[in-house]
Symmetry: C2
């Protein structure tokens, strides 16, 4: 792929789409051309990009003819609708939806974990689920030293995972509740302000929700290890943008704590945040807007000599979605 | 103890103290006399109790002379300061603080679990930690059928655990943040509105905080089983009043899901809340003001055939504190 790349963002007006534009600028992505695509409803809207004003175009059959990379972030059905056209036009689709993630022909990539998998694409590369990316970046460095046997994870997921409108709903709902009103939720199924609830993705017959099964299945695919046993409880909390996770990690034998801490401190995409004196550890407010996954509270599990506990926070829109997609695009550009 | 009981509430102006008064009325506790005690700072304040107006009295050396039961909820140092005087006066102290919980001479009681332990007191009975009570009520019925080997729990704890002023702080902080301001926390160490953080109780050398070690040690004492292995991650979330917990429970062999569900549905102090069609499970907003611990999302753990997952919410001020204390007082009255 040439060093001057023609990029299209499909779903340019959403929370992730907006962040994709910011990241392409911030990271000086070698852009030749940027095309912002969205549904006809959003067409004509203007977006300022550096010193230019770009107009959102309605996506159509010819949108991808002069494009090298499509960053797709408009939901699974939109990705499915346009994937064939994108590939036929000779572009590579980096898809933020779950539509193709478990397809054996589609690499599922976290650049800090399995960068080489990008080269095995047949036109589509999938960006993993947000909670999966954040956990993977934090625990893969440990897995490389001693294979992880089992993970028990509980998540604390922000409203941003449900999109910009859900973030707005939490704010307006909070305002209304503080005024003594009893607002009805419109975007999320239940009130999230001053409340929380198990993740609202569809439930499987096994009692897990889709979000939890993504953590189970996608982690295995990204790590290239089908033996890791994972159980997850995913929960939405009234936080706007960054996700948190409490992760219990079991190995075949004890993992020395100091070693774990050293590895985490040096791992790519991770920042060790531990101030034991001040009881200060990763918090969503500190992870917001950051590229790194903040990891801390690394402890020996008192209930199992072979397990350790850790706590992490990461920006759901950035590393959990847009940043990871742009990093994949960078791999495509730099490795060719 | 006679059926007409003289009760004093020590710490009558706090969040739990206020709820204690409500519960004594609601549950028609056989009161002969109610004395409301607090620090000299709060003395003279008036509280309406049914058709009477009661005045808060400053606690002093003679406060307990004509009292049968003292419900203490003014913090550990106050409990330690007055315990000897209370016992010397012939009253029984039901202490909501952590001061005496692990003292081998002090029963630690959850009436649904170990009601008979109340009779072994030497003047003091301890009320367990809130998260410990809520988890215990939910999982003890399973433990009775098949002994629990290990628990991995993550908590989602409301502001009320840090008292009425912390609840107020979350509200004023939310208001300020919604106005675009950047408020500094005063009661809690870090901003909790639209944020969350690992529990702010003091950290032990093993990396666990006090709140987490309470779940480990108190559960063992209440269950009368020192073999249960427990690990906990306690987290404060921007919810006002009810706590939630994601609990992974390991047995020596598989626990049939339908059996678990039947047991939970019939257990005292527990309400099974599971609407799989509507993805509706326990939420803090529904647990607020309720006596029962709401339990749901009972699932087979995919990572271990001998483990199940469950999710619970309970009112921290009610069953997590005041209600449990009043239930202990009721046991003292009815069993004598």
């Amino acid at each position: 792929m040439s060093n001057q790349v023609r990029v299209a963002i499909l779903g340019a007006t959403g929370a992730v789409g907006t962040e994709l534009i910011n990241l392409l600028i911030e990271r000086k992505f070698p852009l030749k051309d940027l095309k912002l695509l969205a549904s006809p409803r959003s067409a004509g809207k203007k977006v300022t990009f550096q010193d230019q004003t770009l107009e959102i175009e309605a996506v159509d059959d010819n949108s991808f003819d002069d494009v090298d990379i499509v960053l797709a972030s408009a939901g699974g059905s939109t990705s499915k609708q346009w994937a064939e056209k994108i590939v036929a036009a000779g572009a590579v689709m980096i898809d933020n939806s779950s539509a193709f993630r478990m397809n054996p022909d589609v690499p599922l990539v976290v650049p800090e974990i399995n960068p080489n998998d990008v080269h095995n694409h047949k036109g589509i590369i999938a960006n993993p689920n947000c909670t999966t990316i954040l956990m993977g970046v934090a625990i893969y460095p440990l897995h490389q030293i001693q294979p992880i046997k089992r993970v028990v994870v509980s998540t604390y997921q922000s409203a941003s995972g449900a999109g910009a409108r859900a973030m707005e709903e939490v704010k307006t709902q909070s305002e209304a509740i503080l005024k003594g009103e009893n607002p009805q939720p419109e975007i999320l199924p239940y009130p999230l302000a001053f409340n929380l609830f198990p993740h609202n993705s569809p439930l499987m017959d096994n009692g897990y929700c889709e979000e939890e099964m993504k953590m189970v299945n996608e982690t295995r695919k990204i790590f290239g290890d089908d033996d890791i046993r994972i159980t997850a409880t995913c929960v939405r909390v009234p936080v706007l943008r960054a996700h948190s996770e409490a992760v219990n990690i079991e190995f075949a034998q004890p993992f020395p704590l100091n070693k774990a801490r050293d590895i985490i401190a040096q791992a790519p995409g991770v920042k060790l945040v531990e101030d034991w004196q001040n009881n200060y550890f990763p918090m969503p407010m500190d992870a917001t807007g950051k590229d790194e996954v903040l990891v801390g509270r690394i402890r020996q599990d008192l209930s199992n000599p072979n397990s350790i506990e850790l706590w992490l926070c990461g920006d759901q829109i950035r590393k959990g979605a847009a940043l990871n997609a742009v990093q994949i695009a960078e791999l495509l550009v730099h490795d060719n």
